[in-house]
Amino acid sequence: MSTYPLISLAIWTPIIAGFVVLATGSDRNAPLARMLALAGAIAGLIVAIPLWTGFDVAQGTMQFVELKTWIPRFNINYHLGVDGISMLFVVLNSFITIIVVLAGWEVIQQKVAQYNAAFLIMSGLMNGIFTSLDGILFYVFFEASLIPMYLIIGVWGGPNRVYAAFKFFLYTLFGSLLFLLALMYLFIQSGGSFSILEWHKLPIGLGPQIWLFLAFLVAFAVKVPMWPVHTWLPDAHVEAPTGGSIVLAAIALKLGAYGFLRFSLPIAPDASHELSSLVVGLSLIAVVYIGFVALVQADMKKLVAYSSIAHMGFVTLGFFMFSAMGIEGALVQMLSHGFVSGAMFFCIGVMYDRVHSRQIADYGGVVNTMPKFAALFMLFSMANAGLPATSGFVGEFMVILGAVKFNFWVAFAAASSMVVGAAYTLWMYKRVIFGDVANHHVAELTDINNREFLILGVLAICTLWMGLYPQPFTEVMHASVNDLLRHVAISKIQ
């Protein structure tokens, strides 16, 4: 075990790097800002990796814990730690930050320093969310991370960015207020503690548990997003720049799902059991209903955004089956979705940068002019459709297999995504990539450059690695997931 405050490093390295980048000022120093941002992002990953390599897989409790008093009057602490559930997300987040900085390398030419700084700061804040063990600290990071995202959509976004930002705001505000109320309630009930780990042990009656659960559900369901509070996501994706979409899909969506495991299940276990059919029902709607909606999208980004919602449906479904296969499958699905959806949005970005359209109808026969790109896009499309040997398969496979034991018809509905998911992904791929060259825009396309090839290549390796050998990813989860399941099985009602 290292004596360095590794988690603090993972949080503050990118944030400080972000402010340094910001200090480079105007676009005259853009090349410097880019280099600094890349260096900061790489440093962020380097400090995050020891969390994985030094992680004790046998231990289910919090590791690398840091505890300092922050606001003594309200017993608020700077309390950080990771377990098998959160650790990999810190690493994933730090990794995706590099991808994002590289993704905007040539594309973003205005306010370069501010753009990169926003991503670096957001990266640090999101690491904070995944590692906070204090309710208020979590809340502060949770809300603060919205600001850079607003800016990214609002400043570098598309023409309809105001509507998207407004929608995003309305949704999140609603959830956040209820979440804050729940935190206050827990503070009072626990006799003045904001420690999440103590809340886990706090006995609560079924009635209050249900109210707490519903408050958490609203807050997290918006983030995931779950049906029917999902409609902000397609709009946000469509308006966001490529980097914004990558972070949104790869990391931001995971925050809500993570909240279920950190708050809903352990704090309100009885209510979780009581209301599990509600969440399972909503998840299945997400998988089936959203799958069909994705099928008819004409905008590629919207299509992938809807497919994200369907994939996140597997995550919430896995959580509420209360089995190791379900929860671990859901976590694997979250990690995989980070790689695959990030890559999908990047692929769309690659085409958008060249043609300035996201409409499927504006493409056709891209393979003729961009064969390298087509091959990589094929890999990610197949991963999105859950093909074995890609990471997309592992989570779906585990959740579906877990679901058969839970309830055959739940598994039946979930498994339908094997057909629908393949249908919307491959139909898009066919219309965009295959066929004769459709128009002069496609004819003038140039294949991916080295930077784009590097990004897609690295993501391809991650996708294949996780598909062919997922054991290193799941082995860190076992102890924590088993602890969680044991905890959730015990009633808190006294």
């Binding site: 407004f166 929608k167 309305l170 949704y171 029917p228 409609t231 902000w232 209903y289 959203i290 069909f292 909606v293 994705a294 099928l295 008819v296 999208q297 089995s323 190791a324 296969m325 671990e328 499958g329 026969g365 003729n368 064969p371 197949m382 093909l387 074995p388 040997a389 398969f393 496979f397 585990m398 579906i400 297999l401 679901a403 058969v404 034991k405 055959f408 018809w409 598994a411 039946f412 498994a415 339908s416 094997m418 057909v419 629908v420 393949a422 249908a423 491959l426 139909w427 066919k430 990539i433 295959f434 066929g435 004769d436 062919l468 050998y469 997922p470 054991q471 799941t474 082995e475 076992h478």
Partner: protein, 678 residues
């Protein structure tokens, strides 16, 4: 230890070839691509022969290569099960694959995607080997989907052709429907057996033979046998991959792919994966007579009704494709009759003669300069003697000519069905018997139209037909068919050599293998049959007195007479009196229309499933997301906020005297209240 390395070498050698040819397809010259992939497959074939000998000596293997994933109490591994069934499949796959690799050198030599093609077919060989060598359901599913992926890539190999890229998507999606059932079956196995390892599952199967599961809220009427549900779910997977009705629709369209892969993937190996899987799962299927009935009925429908469609096809590849569908139906019927060894036997003989027929069809297509319409051929035996002879051998083997390979396997199926007592066996017996005549008829219709009769090629109006190699990128110009006066020519040796090499087992393998494989102890307990419940195989072996006796005896049997009359009828119809088939077509135009529309399966799927899904998607999107959620809930609350803001705005006029006035009113109100408080 040494053998385990050899086991690994078998799939990894083709994978290595595929990676070299695929990752560097833009930099390496053609000879490197084909040498490295052919070498890889040749190594796999030789290693398979060594392993085959070793297994025959009694050294089977069941072990793990690495642990893929652990979760909860479950452990998923990548591992090999090397037994007689595996080695049979390994030999078939690597041999046919090697032949196809060599053939491709000649067939694809004009194609700009040469290196890519070699990469794909080697990748396919790897995937198929992983499928057959697996010792667990997870890896089986991995191979299952991987061969599906390569099939998708290869059907759409000429990616600018609209028909090809439609066909490959269709193939993938229809297969996914099968996989949907398959994964539920695997899930049931995991949930009730607690493991996905074959050996453990099979050991535990008898214990669970009588267990039931409830499919609906623990009601009695919804309680069904666990084995029946599991086996039917697994078989749905087989129906997708092995193209059984109603999931057969993708296979005829898959002919859009280049001919070598039609031979390798869509005739000899991949489509037989479902047959292999059911044979592998015989310890499970034997525990459910209901599931076996389901299997035999589906197989019988496929065998007969797909055969009918073969009669009216005019595209040389589609005739062979429908024949493949029909033969896959035969294998499925054998599975349903608990004659698993016979199914595998037919799988093997079929792999040889059907690969031969496909490659011969490809040879004809080259010789005819990419003409595929058999009505525009005729008399080719003069110009393409090797293709002619090998085609004749393949056709004779297919229709079950005594002493040739197809005869032994097909006759065994018919006999096994005759002796089976499970529900549906009667219908299946009729179907396979009638199928013999149909098979002989369409096979020799094609044979006579292509190789005999008058030469109908070389006319000017041939350019309308849509043939192979219709590719924008092809360097040579777009000639389909022969120019007037041009004559077909025999193909180069790389093309005809595989034909000759495939013709040898097509003739001999049945005679050699029937004794040990079907009636001997070749499989050494790998295939399990509950002889008490399904005695067909036991009775069948009582009737068997050696391969020679079987052949001689058959000369007076009904299948032989049916096959012979099929050949004679087709000769009479297409050589002597070509006016008769035309008259029949007019007379029975209703049936003809039904056949030409392939029983309307495609139309139905297009309207109901594809169309329905789009309508549903539009309804959910426009109705649910846009109208209700965004329209009413989100924008509604936004409008509410806006409305409140608009109302309160009246109070913020910006004029000082308004505010002053309001303040004064307020002060007055407060004062009034204060004064009146007493």
């Amino acid at each position: 230890m040494e053998m385990q390395k050899l086991y690994l070498l078998v799939p990894l050698a083709p994978l290595f070839g595929a990676m070299i040819a695929g990752l560097f397809c833009r930099v390496i010259p053609r000879w490197v691509a084909h040498s490295v992939t052919i070498l890889g497959v040749a190594v796999a074939f030789i290693a398979s022969v060594v392993i085959f000998k070793d297994v025959q000596a009694g050294n089977t293997y069941n072990g793990t290569v690495y642990t893929w994933l652990t979760s909860g109490d479950y452990r998923f591994e990548v591992g090999f099960l090397i037994d007689t069934l595996t080695t049979t499949m390994m030999l078939v796959v690597t041999f046919v694959s090697l032949m196809v690799h060599i053939y491709t050198v000649g067939y694809m030599h004009e194609d700009p995607g040469y290196n890519r093609f070699f990469s794909y077919i080697s990748l396919f060989t790897f995937s198929m080997l992983m499928l057959v060598m697996s010792n667990n359901f997870m890896q089986l599913f991995f191979g299952w989907e991987a061969v599906g992926l390569v099939s998708y890539l290869l059907i759409g190999f000429w990616y600018t052709r609209p028909t090809a890229i439609f066909a490959n998507m269709k193939a993938f999606l229809v297969n996914r429907v099968g996989d949907f059932g398959f994964i539920l079956g695997i899930g049931l196995v995991l949930a009730h057996f607690g493991t996905l390892d074959y050996a453990s599952v099979f050991v535990k199967a008898p214990e669970l033979a009588n267990s039931t599961i409830s499919l609906f809220a623990d009601r009695d009427w919804a309680t069904v046998s666990l084995m029946t549900v599991t086996c039917i779910c697994l078989f749905i997977g087989a129906m997708g991959k092995s193209a059984q009705v109603p999931l057969h629709v993708w296979l005829p369209d898959s002919m859009e792919g280049p001919t070598p892969i039609s031979a390798l993937i869509h005739a000899a190996t991949m489509v037989t994966a479902g047959i292999f899987m059911v044979a592998r799962m015989s310890p499970l299927f034997e525990l459910s007579t209901t599931a076996l009935s389901f299997v035999i009925i589906i197989g019988a429908i496929t065998a007969l009704f797909m055969g009918f469609l073969g009669i009216i096809q005019n595209d040389i590849k589609r005739v062979v494709a429908y024949s493949t569908l029909s033969q896959l139906g035969y294998m499925t019927v054998a599975l349903g009759a608990s004659a698993y060894s016979v199914a595998i036997f037919h799988l093997m003989t079929h792999a040889f003669f059907k690969a031969l027929l496909f490659l011969a069809a490809g040879s004809v297509i080259i010789g005819m300069h990419h003409e595929q319409d058999i009505r525009k051929m005729g008399g080719l035996r003069k110009y393409m003697p090797i293709t002619w002879i090998t085609s004749l051998i393949g056709s004779l083997a297919l229709i079950g000519t005594p002493f040739l390979s197809g005869f032994y396997s097909k006759d065994s199926i018919i006999e096994a069905v005759a002796l089976s007592h499970i529900p549906g066996a009667g219908f299946a017996y009729f179907a396979v018997m009638a199928g013999v005549f149909v098979t002989a008829f369409y096979s020799f219709r094609m044979y006579f139209l292509v190789f005999h009769g008058e030469e109908r090629f070389g006319h000017a109006e041939q350019h309308d037909h849509h043939g192979d190699h219709d590719d924008e990128e092809t360097s040579h110009d777009h000639h389909h068919g022969l120019a007037p006066g041009e004559k077909p020519h025999e193909t180069p040796w790389v093309v005809w050599l595989p034909l000759v090499l495939l013709a040898i087992p097509s003739v001999a393998i049945g005679f050699i293998a029937i004794g040990p494989m079907v009636f001997g102890d070749y499989f050494k307990g790998v295939i399990y049959i509950d002889h008490h419940a399904h005695p067909a195989m036991e009775h069948l072996s009582e009737h068997f007195h050696g391969a020679v006796a079987m052949g001689v005896h058959s000369l007076t049997s009904l299948p032989f007479i049916l096959a012979l009359s099929g050949v004679v009828t087709s000769w009479f119809f297409y050589m002597k009196r070509p006016d008769i088939p035309a008259a029949i077509q007019r007379r029975f135009s209703l049936i003809n229309t039904l056949f030409e529309n392939k029983y309307y399966f495609d139309k139905f799927n297009e309207v109901v499933f594809a169309g329905g899904a789009r309508v549903l998607g539009k309804a959910f999107w426009r109705g649910g997301d846009v109208a209700v959620i965004d329209g009413v809930m989100v924008n509604g609350s936004a409008k509410l906020v806006a409305w409140i803001a608009a109302v309160t705005r009246f109070f913020q006029t910006g004029y000082v005297y308004h505010y002053a006035f309001t303040m004064i009113i307020g002060v007055f109100v407060l004062m009034t209240l204060w004064i009146n408080r007493a």
